[in-house]
Structures are given as C-alpha cells and as structure tokens.
Symmetry: C2
Subunit: 225 residues, 2 copies
C-alpha cells in the first residue's frame, strides 16, 4: 500500500445497526412493518422500520433476525441485504452505520398483534418516518418490484398453496398496475416455477379454483414478466 494515512485515535467510533423493511400483504394491501421510535428529544412517537444494534458476535443478517424476533415477535422469513446507509448525521445521537435489509412475510404471519408499538402500514398511507427510513422503504419497494420480475421470491409473500388469481393480484399490488389474465397465466406457467398442487379451492358460490405451489423454495432467477 502506498502511504499510511493519519488514523483516528479511536478507530471504533461507530455503531453498527441493521434495519429491516418488511413487506406483507394485509387485507389486500401491500404493507410495511413499522415500530414506534422514541429517541427523545429527536424523535418523539415517530414510526420507523424495525431495527437496532448489531452485537459483537453476530453478523448483520443474524442481527436482523434477532431484532425481528425480539421487537416484533416474528420468526424466520425471507431476507436479503438492501443497502448500507452511512451518512454521518443520519442518526442525531452519533455515528451509526446501518445495513438495511428487505424482508418478505407471509400473510399468515402474525406480528405485533395487540401491541400499540408495532403496526403494518399500507404503502399508500406511509407517514414521515424517523431517520432515513422513508428512503429505505422506497428502496425496498423498488428492489421488490425489480426482483419479482426475474426471480421466484414472491413465494415468500404467499401461503403454501394459492390460486393463479391470487398470484396475479399480488403482482398487481406490488407493481401497482393491472395485468392481462390470460397472458399472465401463460407466462408464469411457462417458467415452470409453479405447479398445480392437485388440490382445489372451494369457496362460496363460485367455480372452484386450482391451487398451485412453488416448485422450488430456493431463490431462482427465471424470466417472468
């Protein structure tokens, strides 16, 4: 290496944190998981995504998992790294570098029910969040939109079995636009990423719908849209 640069006396000046932008469909709406933030005097009763400090003996991924568990009572879910936010003044209390994650939760999952401090909030009614969390949510949504077009990660927002109409509705929610039913079915079946479960869904006074399941739980890239 060329030359040594002046080093700060204390090289451990920063705190490492992680934040998780968790999406989930709730009552037909694409929602994000928020928790109350109270870091007086800077943020009083604001909302923010779930996050917290990384511990000395855990990776940021493990930390994200632990924080979801302890702060929102959520078990395991699909997660991927999103972006690392390192603005010097992103936390008014001091230097905090946060590794943001994208998380996807199934509708069946229950989190923070009964708690006043944890809520699923529709993206169409997103408040001003603490810190740079609005930016994180925007980035998470952008990433989700991109990735459902070429991977099978939507499965993490769906139950084990689902109808094609439900799958299409989910794509439409995430992409925020209508899709053609026949073309959607052709495309999604052509990828072979889903297959018929063999079971039918009977519900109400309607023709029963075939229930499908994902062929592989591993994240795969396939051209869908």
């Amino acid at each position: 290496m060329a030359k040594n640069v002046a080093r700060p006396k204390n090289i451990r000046f920063a705190v490492i944190a992680t934040d998780i932008v968790v999406f989930r469909i709730v009552a037909g709406e694409l929602c994000v998981l928020l928790g109350k933030v109270n870091t007086s005097p800077y943020f009083i009763n604001r909302w923010g995504v779930i996050g917290g400090l990384v511990l000395p003996k855990e990776t940021v991924e493990k930390s994200a998992e632990r924080l979801l568990q302890t702060k929102a009572g959520i078990g395991s879910m699909y997660k991927e790294q999103l972006y690392t936010f390192s603005s010097v003044d992103r936390d008014p209390r001091g230097r905090v570098v946060s590794v943001a994650h994208l998380g996807l939760a199934k509708e069946s999952l229950r989190a923070g029910e009964g708690s006043m401090d944890i809520r699923w909030v529709s993206l169409r009614a997103l408040p001003d969040l603490a810190y740079d969390h609005n930016e994180m949510v925007a980035m998470g949504l952008e990433r989700l939109r991109a990735r459902i077009g070429y991977t099978n990660i939507v499965q993490h927002l769906l139950p084990e079995t689902f109808t094609l109409s439900e799958l299409q509705a989910l794509y439409e929610k995430v992409l925020n636009r209508k899709l053609d039913k026949r073309n959607f079915r052709k495309k999604v079946l052509k990828t072979r990423m889903i297959r018929k479960s063999g079971i039918m869904k009977k519900e109400g006074a309607m023709r029963p719908a075939a229930l499908y399941e994902f062929a592989s739980k591993a994240v795969k890239t396939v051209q869908i849209l």
Copy 2:
C-alpha cells in the same frame, strides 16, 4: 418497541471498513485492481482489493474515494455499493464490517504504475486473495455482468469516444462470450444510449471506423442485450 435486549457494555466494538473491487480493461484483458496486504502474522505478502478504514466524518462512499486516492493514486471513477460483509471472523484481528464497492476505471487511467504493491491482475489469473476478497471480486463481476445488460455503465470502462467494434469487444470481455456483430449494432443503436461523435478513427491500413460517444453520462436503465 417490544422489549429491551441486553446491550453490550461497549456498543462501539466494531471497525467499519470499505473495499473497492475496481475493474479496468488492460491490454484487452478484464482486470481487477489489487494491492499488497501485509497483516502479519495472518497475511504475508498476499494480494487483496484496495480498502481500509472509514473515518468518523466520512460516508463509506467518501472513504472509498479517499482510499483509492491515497493507496493507489486514483482520482474519481464510477462507483456503486456492492454488498456489506459482516462475518464475525472475516478479519483475524478483530471485528471489521466492510462495505464493498464496485468501481469502474477507464483504460486511460493510470494507477500504481511503478509501485510493486499495486497491480492490475487479469481475472483469468486471479490468485488467492486475503480476507473474503475473492468473494468480493466474484460478486463484483456478477454485478457488472448483470448491469451492462440493462444500464449504460459500460461507458465508465471506455474512453470518451470509441468504435462499435471496441464497444462490442468490451461486452465480449465482460460477458466472456462472442456476440453477433450485426445484431449487437442493431440493439445497441436502438437504445439510443450512444450516438455518432462525427469523428472518424483512422488507423493503419484499414477502413476508418466511426467514433461514437455516450448520449448521457447519468446512469440510465435501458434494455440492451
């Protein structure tokens, strides 16, 4: 938030670092910038990508810029965040969380010339690197490959003006496969991401080639391949 977790007595246990995987075409080969790593007794005379500690008053992006400047004498270049590596034992000396970046350098750029500690190394002859740097390089290459297919970032590997054959050769180097000349030209021109500069390149006993330039310096997403 639900409950408080036990916090470590010193929450500032970690060091934040950044590493930059810089690609550049050198003599027709796709190369990556490496520097000598000597962290006795763990790594003696190994190679690794350029990196170092983030300072208290800089973002990781600024830090990457500074480190490239001071360690390799490189000015500004295109950079984007790649991934944050946080394995607990990725650095044998202690906990270091590193935010890796992807960098692209033009062939005209000179770095570390004359230094024994800085080298551009062909990807086809990549040695065992220090830390988790092989993983970083692999991830950087994967990202570059994906992104040249749908953005105009190749421009950062090219001089201001270039011929279509040079552009195609670059795509072939990065993707490591041959492309059809006529189809390549049609596709790349259809995106309108490049345009004729109006100048011709005369060289040797050959038909002169039209020189092209990028229409926009901003990173844009366009369907290319």
